[in-house]
Amino acid sequence: DTAVSQTPKYLVTQMGNDKSIKCEQNLGHDTMYWYKQDSKKFLKIMFSYNNKELIINETVPNRFSPKSPDKAHLNLHINSLELGDSAVYFCASSQASGRAGNEQFFGPGTRLTVL
């Protein structure tokens, strides 16, 4: 059984388009995250949600909007895509927020290519 799943796995689109990436976890975790991994493999957190509530919002352009319909899902919507948005986006989940040491489980990633 897949613990953290993301769709789609690959996304190729034109500059200026709007796209969404979906994430679902079946681990019963309370907290979900979005990370961006750039072409140099650098991983950086973008957002974190705990029980559908936004708790971390890094300095991310407001073209990126996360949405959590329930605690098992965290989707990422991106408006007006730019070339620099090309990256691999990872969803992750963990048991609870506010306590260091909770293992974060990562999804397989969505490779976004903006042409």
Binding site: K41, F42, L43, I56, Q104, F106, G109
Partner: protein, 111 residues
Amino acid sequence: QQQVKQSPQSLIVQKGGISIINCAYENTAFDYFPWYQQFPGKGPALLIAIRPDVSEKKEGRFTISFNKSAKQFSLHIMDSQPGDSATYFCAASMAADKLIFGTGTRLQVFP
């Protein structure tokens, strides 16, 4: 202060050898230091983690050494195997759960 510096960027090791990856941090409020392993096309997966009240943690062939005064920690992979070839990330976090990742080390183990 939020950075975690990782070295080397890449590492080539013979099968059976020891792989050592080092990380350093500035923020003394960090209290959780995990290592993640990432294979091509996959998401990172937790390998081993340590808290600052312990100087060493061993799980199988993988050992974390932690030096609180120097603000450094390292991953040692004993008896390295070709299957260990992957990118390794150190990370650090405080109670807020935000993981700050190092820049990654690409390890290649040759038979």
